[in-house]
């Protein structure tokens, strides 16, 4: 089965961990993830500037390893990201030389059309971190 996974909460939220464990289970079960879509506060997952306390589980780092290891299509909503200071090099330059915090190449800053496209391609759209 093809899954699209949307996440709305930051990596510090319990729903981020749940989404990650769900995504891991999807692949372990032999299913496919067509896209991960990070919206609202979940755009923070793309920030390389997050620091996790040493005695806490670094879910953001686990997400990055999971995405890299499995070569997953990972899209961050560009409008939500700009609003929260999550800029890649291109956007940082476009907006007057602000600091860029999106460093790993696996993150694509793109529009909400990517969420709709993923929902259309997938058999199931699974959302984490809503109200």
């Amino acid at each position: 089965m093809k899954f699209a996974i949307a996440l709305f909460a930051p990596p510090q939220a319990p729903s981020s961990r749940r989404a990650l464990r769900f995504a891991e289970a999807v692949l372990a079960g032999g299913h496919e993830i067509v896209r991960l879509f990070f919206y609202q506060d979940a755009v923070q997952h793309a920030s390389a500037a997050l620091v996790c306390a040493q005695d806490e589980t670094d879910i953001a780092a686990q997400w990055i390893r999971f995405i890299q290891d499995n070569q997953l299509d990972s899209v961050v909503c560009i409008a939500a990201a700009l609003r929260r200071g999550v800029l890649d090099a291109g956007e940082a330059q476009r907006h007057g030389g602000r600091p860029a915090v999106v460093e790993q190449p696996q993150w694509a800053l793109s529009g909400l059309g990517q969420l709709h496209e993923a929902a259309q391609l997938a058999d199931r759209l699974i959302c984490f971190g809503g109200p």
């Binding site: 609202q40 409008a79 939500a80 969420l115 709709h116 259309q120 959302c127 109200p131």
Partner: protein, 119 residues
Amino acid sequence: MAKSLLLICRQSPWAGPPAREALDIALAGGAFELPLALLFLDDGVFQLVADQNPSALEQKDLQANLRALPLFGVDQLYVCQRSLAERGLNADSLVLPAHPLDEAGLRALIAEHDQSVTL
């Protein structure tokens, strides 16, 4: 055939970006001519209240986005009857013609859509 999406809006219009960002999903879907409906639930019903004064909070008027929905082909609008009643609101005085639904209506609406997003 395209999958249908039900967007469930639960955020008050003054609580920061979430309400606007939920509507943006609808507007983006409408631009792609996807079949989608909006349900205003819980504090989300406050988005539909007339005569608001967002400038007092130095906020942009969310209702400009709401009014754009029909222009984007999004005209299936629903509102939870109970959420309105709990907040002393009336379905007749809303800024958009949202169809009020009781509990059975909510269940049917959710069941008849392929996917849903709650924000």
